[in-house]
Symmetry: C2
Subunit: 247 residues, 2 copies
């Protein structure tokens, strides 16, 4: 197994589509950060902040239904909307109430849970969003492993908001001399974040998913998801579910 | 078949890896621009400028050998170097002599010919490089079709120089009101080009492939490939080969 020695340069790459994950995933010995800013990974961070015990991500509606039949609380989103017959979708505002405290939640979304599914063989898989940006960076610096920032994108296409979050992580880690040898994908993401950081919302004004959510009257969700460092925890995937490691 | 009506908005997307091409290629009715700035597509443009009649791109060394046995002039590059036993690699400077005038050349490269191979089912496939930037943009405006800018990348990974060229094309076409609805991938590429355009070479100073070529003493090739608008033609793929359509 490839190991990272103390003092070695650490590699950070951005994988802009779940479909490219096999290209970037060359060794188990890395941390994969799954990113779906609008809205799955923002919702997951919010849920743990509000006391959810465990989130079981599943890739398909069929699996979600099986859990529902067993009595689980199940969230299902496709194309920005709650799937009929399920308790909730992926709006962060659905994960703030008393009724979810201490609960296990099963979750399937258009992009985010697909990205988790593809990357779950990695040594460590964590959940990133602007809400827990600083906690994610601290986790990565402590882990001292190579990093793959996996953008959930939109149906395997590149998207802007996930790329910006990847850029924010690299921007923060680039002060650490162990991460100086940046991959091209990381250089690009860092430059984009540099352009956008003073007003993420304005920069995303013409992005496709922001407009998709705007059409669905989800402006409140967008603004919520673009806040930085409001949540100080890092959800980690272990076994078949996400748990929290309070930073 | 999906058709583009006069007056419709045209879609431009950047596909950052040949491995993602099936995700972006939703309809045959589009122009695919294959981009491998360092150096395959720059070399192809140069070859046609110097009178090559036809270039047959092949994906594997085995196919290249078969052509060689039939007496063809064959160019083969892997990892930046000429493959042993072949006439030339993909340095543009190999495609400037009298000996190639009027010839058919067979070409296989690490990334560029792989990208052509994956995209050749498209209605129109053309070759883009900074050298023929303006000619490519004129071709696209005349074609009035949706556009996929296909970055050859590096072994299916994202790379910076191909993304910058994609951004240069979008930057130019964005003045045309038919292309206003830009995909996220296009917005990102255009921003990057905006940051880099005044000094492409400096912007690419830390990019991985530029440094790979620098280690191989190919600085002269790098500087050559970053010139804009020195070649006024567009190589087009038809049948199994590239030809020239003088712009």
């Amino acid at each position: 197994m490839e190991t990272v020695e103390i003092g070695d340069q650490l590699r950070i790459e951005v994988c802009y589509s779940p479909a490219l994950f096999p290209v970037y995933y060359q060794s188990k010995n890395c941390v994969v950060v799954v990113i779906d800013v609008f809205r799955a990974t923002s919702a997951i961070c919010t849920a743990f902040q509000h006391g959810v015990k465990e989130i079981i991500p599943v890739a398909t509606i069929e699996e979600a239904k099986e859990y529902q039949e067993k009595g689980y609380l199940v969230a299902a989103e496709r194309n920005g909307e709650v799937v009929e017959g399920f308790d909730m979708g992926n709006s962060p505002f659905s994960y703030m109430g008393e009724e979810i405290k201490g609960k296990k939640i099963v979750l399937t979304t258009t992009n985010g849970t697909n990205a988790i599914e593809r990357a779950k063989a990695a040594d460590q898989l964590i959940i990133g969003s602007f809400l827990n940006l600083k906690a994610v960076c601290s986790f990565l610096e402590a882990a001292q492993k190579n990093v793959i920032l996996l953008c959930a994108g939109w149906r395997d296409r590149y998207n802007l908001e996930d790329s910006l979050f990847a850029g924010a992580v690299i921007h923060s880690l680039s002060n650490n001399p162990r991460y100086t040898g940046l991959a091209d994908s990381s250089i690009a993401a860092m430059h984009l974040y540099g352009l956008a950081k003073y007003d993420l919302s304005a920069f995303l004004a013409s992005s496709s998913h922001r407009n998709r959510l705007k059409r669905l009257n989800l402006e409140r969700d967008i603004n919520y998801c673009l806040q930085e460092n409001t949540i100080d925890l890092v959800p980690i995937f272990e076994g078949n579910a996400l748990f929290v490691n309070r930073a």
